[in-house]
Amino acid sequence: MSKNDIKVALIGNPNTGKTSLFNQLTGLNQKVGNYPGITVDKKEGVSKLSSTQNAVITDLPGTYSINPTSLDESIVLKTLLKKDIATSPDVILVVADVENLKRNLLLFSQIKDLEIPTVLAINMVDQMVKKGISIDLTALEKELNTEVVLISARKNQGIQEVKEAIIRCYVTAKASPLCGINHQIDPDYFDALKKISPNYSLYELWLMVTQNNFPDTISSKEKEQLLEFKKDVSKLKKYQHKETIYRYQEINKILKKTYIVDKTKATDLRSRLDKIFTHKIFGYVFFVFLLLLIFQSIFDWASFPMDFIDGTFAKLSNYVKSNLPAGVFTDLLTEGIIPGIGGVLIFIPQIAILFMFIAILEETGYMSRVVFLMDKIMRRFGMNGKSIIPLISGTACAIPAIMATRTISSWKERLITILVTPFTTCSARLPVYAILIALIIPNKKIFGFLNLQGLVLLFLYALGFATAILAAYILNKTLKIKSKSFFVVEMPNYKLPSVKNVFFEVVEKTKSFVFEAGKIILALSIVLWFLASNGPSSFDNAEKNTIENVANQNLSDDELQQKIASAKLENSYIGILGKTIEPTIKPLGYDWKIGIALITSFAAREVFVGTLATIYSVEADDEDTSTIKQKMASEINIDTGKNRFNFPVGMSLMVFYAFAMQCMATLAIVKRETKTWKWPLIQLFGMGLLAYISSLITYQILS
């Protein structure tokens, strides 16, 4: 960022297209979606306004006014009240929705009163004809005393005009209040307030009083005087109400002259869809049906590309092995890295399908209907209707889901939601479930169309969700936190999902899944491979001892080689480590190799498959070309002589992964959002204990 860059802040009501415009201006791909509260944090990007002028654009969470009631909204207030030349915005770009201009102008009028140069972008003008809206632009600009640009961020219209308007606004630096607040409410009161400091606009001083938010630049004497005004709370509240009414009166006057809606054009598609989606019975039936469809598709659509990827990696490993000179590096590549990476890449099809469904749900506006349907239920469990959004979007990843709780205004409800969100089956669990299900559940159709494997997967998702709810119930009863629950949610209009948004969402998320997992797996597989192919003196003697032990058993050469490889692995560092923990996990049905995979999974769950792939590759003989799944399927339990991954072990493992908190990144985010290590540690140990006990019970009952 250079000194001459114009600092622009994007501010507006939720869901008006701020992020869409931000993406158009900066060329970035931030998340866009059709419900209020998608953006919950600041995001900066650079935009080339003209050949000589750049701007640093800040995208902000949406808010209905400058008076925040939740964390995401208070980020906006903080940005505006900062009196720091280096970071406070030069120009504010207010983004308004053309369909609900009246309400959008309330926030606009507050911003104008802060006396910061402002441009108004009225977005979604592609909808104007359909909704029968017409605007007298020249008159509106005059009334608002502001440059107004009509744009469509989705259709990329008016973006150039916005850029030009920003430059003009910056150059003229025209800033004047729109309504002012002292006129009608209580002139004496506000005159006294204004006298406190000449450095701030009256509205800024008023906000400091009402929001209890003082910039560093204010002197202690001034602050003392301001605090004096805070004493009469009921008066403050009354004046805030009056202020809002007064603003709406002014806005109505302006819009009467400039904004016309032809009511006959209004379609009732929205109300007809709402009748179905929020219906007493159909509402829930549709919701369950939708979930069923998603899980069926995850299995049905993905199986072909998955088999393809799996086979390709087995071949690649083989090809590398036969074309590179034999040696340590080749072994590392073919036994550690390639199977490890393949163990993640194979799940791209399933994960992309899941991400696609979530993106489509978010883009249609259906999410807010689910919030509406679920509020009463969630409230019984100490959460809020809005908690359903983290619980659903947590199926992709818990990290953005935990960030999304910022829209919940009650701290207790928010904390409970943060604590239980990791129970939601995230995409990192999908690889573990998918491979285990494929091993232990027959690929059958029941009732002719329901895929049994898909059904088991659905059950695991349901298990995660049910546990989250139950945990919330317990937390609600035990946590002694008082905070007022409040619930107002805007129901957005239904929209056809934009193909471009869905596409980028899927690509971005899949990419970050692969790269995040890839990094960890790459590192871990190198470490694992090293630990598996080296060991103390017993490791060096393993070959000799094995040959001596089986000398009189008349084994074929292949069988002998296999025995030697196993003995070596067991005496390697990793084998010794695994054997040490084996007694703890044996009651759950696991051997030491699975134990190693459990440990590495605490970095990230998706490492499970890759770890097993690496361990089994080291053990396998050199001509082995089988895929990961085949290797797992043919793994033998030496105690029973039967398959290692039988039904009880598979179920016990899935239950373990359903409950255990095996994700360092999530723990770090929980620490950041709750500002203490207490909660992430409670999650780690609480969920770990639950996982251990449940898996123990599952295995003991089933076997």
């Binding site: 008076n67 805030q240 109300s271 929020t278 509406f372 349907l373």
Partner: protein, 74 residues
């Protein structure tokens, strides 16, 4: 005196001037103003929350909030 909570689905009313002090600021800011016409669009399956349309905003609010806001039925 009737409140928003007592509306039937599809029924309309006007928010009464006396309601001002009982409307939470957030709702006021979202367009729930005295004198404005409110329509009850839908009631959630478990009878709470409710879905209203006021001043062009479509909002879901809880019954307890709705019960504080007095209206004149039209």
């Amino acid at each position: 005196m009737s409140t928003i909570a007592s509306l039937q689905i599809g029924e309309m009313g006007y928010i009464s001037e006396e309601a001002l002090d009982f409307i939470p600021l957030k709702l006021l800011e979202m367009g729930c103003l005295p004198g404005a016409e409110v329509k009850l669009v839908q009631i959630a399956p478990l009878k709470d929350p409710i879905y209203i349309c006021v001043n062009g905003s479509h909002l879901a609010i809880r019954k307890e909030t709705a019960a504080q806001i007095q209206i004149l039925k039209s």
